[in-house]
């Protein structure tokens, strides 16, 4: 397996607006993300997860240490476009990422910037829109779409760059449950079917549960890192840093505490129900 993103001893500080006080965000953070993996970064507000994400495609540069993306140091200005083309980024508010008032023109924005020839842009736009299931809406104006649809257009806009990795910074925070499901299904499919590296930044436990690997952060440090099962099993630790566990996990842990002999690694409601049914059948 190749390494997609390598973070070595990352330091980052910023000057606050409250009288120029220096805030330390990262004080020596190390992280490595494998190509093709689906990683969720969990953390409550202000834990530095968005700041970390912005280091992955050189929107922010490390004050100390290094971030290496597909072998390219993000501090290397000459590779800036290549880095951003490799690592696409989707933000919280779809309205503030869409630049054009026609869906397909918007998806074409990135390849246009990269100087791709017109017929190839057309091909990429069509592929990207099909990949997110928005091809039928290609001539629509974005304001006619729902939140989930707009966010999928934003994802298509990133896919048109043909990136190796997509970083999504709380892509579902402003969406209704229907929109959230659409976006997560799209992201999960991209990872499973095309082998794209997906880094999902979120504070929803149930979204994180869908990933292969969960990284829990608090105050600029990684407090837990592993499979969703392994991370969510550390309930007291997560609670101590202000994080929850998925409701299914919560139920199973509570049952176990009351003396019910049951495994606690079911992370979806379906798996949990299955487990409970088996357990009831046994007793």
């Amino acid at each position: 397996m190749t390494t997609a993103i390598q973070v070595n001893d990352l330091h980052y500080t910023y000057e606050g607006q409250d009288g120029g006080k220096t805030h330390i965000v990262f004080d020596g953070l190390n992280l490595s993300i494998e190509q093709g993996s689906f990683v969720a970064v969990l953390g409550h507000n202000g834990c530095g997860k968005s700041t970390l994400a912005k280091h992955f495609n050189a929107i922010l540069l490390p004050a100390g240490g290094s971030v290496t993306v597909y072998g390219m140091d993000t501090k290397d200005e000459e590779k800036l476009l290549a880095i951003r083309q490799h690592v696409g980024m989707v933000f919280q508010n779809p309205d503030n990422q869409i630049v054009s008032n026609v869906v397909e023109e918007d998806v074409a924005f990135a390849p246009e910037n990269l100087g791709v020839a017109s017929p190839e842009i057309r091909r990429r736009v069509d592929d990207a829109l099909k990949a997110v299931g928005m091809y039928d809406y290609r001539t629509y104006a974005p304001q006619l779409l729902s939140g989930g649809q707009k966010q999928r257009v934003a994802i298509a806009g990133v896919l048109a760059m043909r990136p190796q990795c997509v970083v999504l910074d709380e892509p579902t925070a402003m969406l209704d449950p229907q929109g959230r499901r659409e976006v997560l299904d799209t992201v999960e499919r991209l990872n499973r079917e095309t082998g794209m590296t997906v880094i999902l930044i979120t504070h929803h436990m149930d979204e994180a549960a869908r990933a292969d690997r969960v990284i829990a952060m608090s105050e600029g440090r990684i407090v837990a890192d592993g499979t969703p099962q392994a991370v969510f099993a550390q309930e007291p630790l997560l609670r101590s840093v202000g994080l929850d566990v998925p409701q299914t996990e919560q139920l199973l842990l509570e049952l176990k505490r009351r003396g019910v002999d049951i495994p606690t690694d079911a992370l979806t409601p379906e798996a949990c129900a299955q487990l409970l049914r088996q357990r009831i059948a046994q007793s």
């Binding site: 495609n57 929107i59 476009l81 951003r84 083309q85 696409g88 980024m89 933000f91 508010n93 309205d95 503030n96 990422q97 869409i98 630049v99 054009s100 008032n101 026609v102 397909e104 023109e105 074409a108 924005f109 990135a110 390849p111 246009e112 910037n113 990269l114 100087g115 791709v116 020839a117 017109s118 842009i121 057309r122 736009v125 104006a141 974005p142 304001q143 934003a154 806009g157 990133v158 760059m161």
Partner: protein, 267 residues
């Protein structure tokens, strides 16, 4: 209420006028305006009106729509007509107090009405049949020789298209803020002009703050999508002249020629 705001209405269609290259249409509008200002007498105005009528007929835009959009200008048209009516030279036909109406005054008034209506209706045809995106593309392409003089042509067209993109978003936001302020007892409908203008401040302040925040996020998102100015940029749909564009240029040139000839004869 705010939902009705339209800037440069566009009626999508598949007519030859709609399919013309935006550059052609932009140039033709300029030619049309020049031709209009060359007009001296009724014959010339009739030619211009016939040309416009042909364009309207070809674009399948209903005359009613054009007339409806001229209505807001009625006041200006009537005012200029009246002013011209009383400022004529020569022998007065009728006279009362300090006002006198002359033959040339009546003529000028009629020509003024014709000129303004034809001018506005003609430029309307551009926005009716061209999408805002195509218009900005056309403008950028037409002005691109100015890039050699370091004029920020690409930046201007980018700004225009982003502004167009965010008009509906900001209108929606204004509606939301207005509702929020109304829910807290703000009153936008009563009082005199000054108190109504003052009532707008609590709308404008949050609107501006959010617009700046949006601009900041949009800039980051654009950078993430490798935006680095107009250099080396390609287009999804390049503009290409078709035979109908050459035909349109020809008819524009013909119109101009006819107008120059008519002007020589004082028609």
């Amino acid at each position: 209420m705010l939902k009705d705001v339209t800037l440069g209405q566009f009626f999508p269609g598949q007519t030859p006028i709609h399919k013309l290259d935006p550059r052609t249409k932009l140039v033709l509008v300029i030619v049309y305006i020049v031709a209009l200002f060359l007009a001296k007498w009724f014959v010339s105005y009739a030619v211009i009106a016939a040309f416009l009528a042909l364009v309207i007929a070809m674009s399948r835009i209903r005359l009613k729509v054009v007339l409806k959009n001229l209505k807001p200008l009625l006041f200006i048209i009537i005012l200029t007509a009246l002013l011209n009516l009383f400022y004529g030279q020569g022998e007065p036909i009728a006279q009362f107090w300090i006002f006198k109406i002359t033959r040339s005054g009546i003529q000028n008034a009629i020509f003024m009405v014709l000129r303004i209506s034809l001018l506005v209706a003609g430029t309307f045809m551009l926005t009716y049949t061209t999408s805002p995106i195509a218009l900005t593309d056309g403008l950028e392409s037409l002005l691109s020789p100015l890039k050699k003089l370091h004029a920020p042509v690409h930046e201007l067209s980018m700004m225009m298209s982003i502004a167009l993109r965010f008009i509906p978003t900001l209108i929606e936001e204004t509606d939301k803020i207005m509702s929020a302020q109304k829910a807290r007892g703000a009153d936008f409908e009563s009082g005199n002009l000054i108190s109504r203008a003052k009532a707008l401040v609590p709308i404008l302040v949050p609107l501006f703050i959010s617009a700046f925040r949006r601009a900041d996020e949009l800039a980051t998102a654009m950078e993430c999508r490798c935006y680095h100015g107009g250099e080396g940029r390609t287009k999804l749909s390049e503009l290409h002249y078709q035979s109908r564009d050459y035909l349109a240029y020809l008819s524009g040139a013909a119109l101009l020629a006819v107008m120059i000839v008519l002007r020589q004869f004082g028609l």
